[in-house]
Symmetry: C3
Subunit: 310 residues, 3 copies
């Protein structure tokens, strides 16, 4: 269902932003509302990308539900909000003008023709989907040119717990989304998404949770010996990730977040574009442990962070 | 055994072309004959590649046998057939002239020195191989420069059923081969395979069963709720594929087509160059479901198609 | 612990160089000493790279231990040895001058801040690590710019056996490390590692055990019908490998070398950068069997070799 007109309800729902993991809400139905806006998004110091954003962020908010729950989802396309129009006029940037958008939930099982349809600026779409499989799933905008919408920031994570929760108690959890940026300079510190570069599969930056090396500057704090669980998602759009934590071995890995797909004692996890994983490990002694994509150009271009264990 | 002279028997055997899957023939021995020709092959509207073809097609014909069956295989190198010579003279294309060819069956277990040897134009090779493992296997020409022979079209699929057939009854089956094209313009709408581009790993097009976006234009028709089985093969030559169907989750995946290598509830299947997979899923409601390589530059360059479920 | 001054003890320990696999030593503690030098290393005929080397070789020496054993490790940074200084002056090469180095063992579980710290020319580092997981693990220099240190040659393999050894008796074993070279010409046949090329993920050469096509020129000899075990490690730094042996099927594969991660009947094994695998197969008849990375630009650029079965 698509509606028009002034929908004043803003983003709502049991959401969180990575690296935080939201709790699974109670009940059979979960109401979630996203807003889509066009805004400048800071990728690193002196680099602002003209972004198309779910929930004002790259990646968008994290949804966390359980198998059997139904998501009552709605989304408003606010790409024509007045604040954005002024900026686009000022910047004279094609990519900041109002545009159609949509959303595609890999965790859902629905006809994409109506659920994942594109809506114009000012419109709101409503639909429901039920979680049938556990996992760590991607969502992203599905409006053509899909590659452009993805590299402009329209990506995010859904975690679906099995009915009885995940096995193997974890003491601390983080959510990490890995994405590739393809940028061309527009003006000064403002950059635009570059589909030509994206078609060459040669990223400008690669990040965890949207910002270059952010967890190097703001490390994630953990306790020595506790079981850490990372919900990991590689949204690409193009390349693989080889996730690794320096100084330890990844005790248990569930590919795409399903415990049926279990690996043990991995040094690195190979995660394709649009694949996820749940990765459990322990940090053995006090210290500082870098995590990164061991496809090393990616790490060098920003896909690295630090755990401090105390 | 390699023979010369006029061998008038053309291609024969219990074969089919993707997306159709041939039936497994009865009996302990299966006789199959391929022809290799040099022909222009249409990759998309206004793009004809100077191709080297098994069975007049890219990919070549599909072979479907059972563990324990022996294939009595023969192949004639018809690259000097008169119709081709004229075209090559007219086009002045080096790549259309008669050339040596061979075939390498990943499903076989034989000494490559004699079975996979190269034969000259006019010659016919005969050899046998027995299927010992179930799976979805690649075949391809193994004549140096192998990269050139593969990107010129000499690729295809063999499906091997376990002795007692595959588990989990499927209602409908399709065969999809994913390949990368590397093209440089020769003249007008005629293109040649480009090994320099192939060494840069940066494809011009990526397709399912040889033609850009063909199943977008001619969707595959299925029934709502039925169990669909895709025999998938990524022939590369270079890059991974992240196979995904929008609007559903891949219920069961057998990597390289062996039921021992089972994954459950995948959002996308990471398939390396020269790997295959059997992928089972259900489409939940009436509608239109795009399937694609979620390494998204590949989808943008042609690796996308549509299922229509009714 | 880091010490300075003249440490005259050279490399020591129960080591071997690929393709040979060293024996697991007896006892609870294994003493191993590495030296790091700057030397020209021959990649292929007429191509010498200004290398930074563990144990005078690319890849470095192979360590083979068992779960529960503790490695008493030490390493001397000899990058300022007089023989090297002269050559660097002569060559006027920035990359041959004395430099800091370190080592990171993926098989270890330690705080990287002190164990994997960088040491200056003339210094020696001592630390211990215990093997807790079986597998085929990478080691590499972790000194920034890590990408530069890896592509300059500072990579190698550690094999860790389970407490009771690996299952499935193998008759013959080989160790193969796959790496990418990124080179720019310095002068004549001398080349330097090129980080710009490495950031483009587009290798100059890809090799098994450090030298282009070396096992094509010097094939590995095996017996028909015997069970061959390859300890395989892809050190990248950037790209995947799709390991394949022409003429056979890979009977059993343990991803990252842990028997818990078992695959059966694979035509090719997809190994990410910084991943390993144990790969068992049989060659069925007398003959010549090429092994290669079936991501075929990589094979074309040197990642190919031959087994001769008699
Ligand atoms: Cu969009
Ligand atoms: Cu998607
Ligand atoms: Cu050929
Ligand atoms: Cu092959
Ligand atoms: Cu170093
Ligand atoms: Cu590492
Ligand atoms: Na989703
Ligand atoms: Na780049
Ligand atoms: Na085959
Ligand atoms: Na391209
Ligand atoms: Na190691
Ligand atoms: Na190259
Ligand atoms: Zn949960
Ligand atoms: Zn606990
Ligand atoms: Zn390109
Ligand atoms: Zn069948
Ligand atoms: Zn049925
Ligand atoms: Zn290149
Ligand atoms: Zn051993
Ligand atoms: Zn034996
Ligand atoms: Zn580049």
């Amino acid at each position: 269902v698509v509606t028009s007109g002034a929908n004043i309800q803003k983003q709502t729902g049991p959401l969180a932003y990575g690296p935080n993991v939201p709790k699974v809400p109670d009940g059979d139905t979960v109401e979630i509302k996203f807003d889509v806006t066009h805004k400048l998004f800071q990728v690193k110091k002196d680099v602002l990308m003209a972004g198309w954003l779910f929930g004002d962020s790259i990646p968008g908010p994290i949804i966390h539900v359980r198998v059997g729950q139904t998501v009552k989802f709605s989304m408003t396309n606010r790409s024509s909000d007045s604040t954005m129009s002024n900026m686009s006029l000022a910047m004279n940037m094609e990519s900041m003008k109002p545009m159609q958008h949509s959303i595609d939930f890999h965790a859902g099982m629905v006809n994409p023709e109506d659920k994942y349809r594109s809506i114009a600026a000012g419109e709101t779409i409503h639909f429901m989907w039920t979680a049938h499989y556990p996992g760590v799933f991607m969502y992203h905008c599905g409006t053509p040119m899909v590659l452009m919408h993805m590299i402009s920031g329209m990506v995010g994570m859904v975690i679906v717990d099995p009915k009885d929760g995940f096995p193997d108690h974890a003491d601390r959890e983080f959510a990490l989304v890995q994405n590739e940026y393809y940028l061309k300079q527009a003006s000064g510190s403002v950059y635009a998404a570059d589909t030509i570069a994206a078609l060459h599969r040669d990223p400008t930056y690669v990040t965890f949770n949207g910002k270059v090396s952010q967890y190097v500057f703001r490390p994630l704090r953990v306790k020595v010996g506790e079981r850490i669980r990372v919900y990991f998602l590689n949204v690409g759009p193009n390349n693989i990730s080889s996730f690794h934590v320096i100084g330890t071995i990844l005790d248990k890995v569930w590919l795409d977040g399903n415990p049926a797909n279990e690996f043990t004692g991995m040094q690195a996890v190979l995660v394709g574009p649009a694949q996820g994983a749940i990765i459990d490990f322990v940090l053995p002694e006090k210290g500082s442990y870098t995590f990164l994509d061991h496809s090393f150009a990616n790490a060098t271009e920003g896909a690295a962070g630090v755990f401090i264990a105390e």
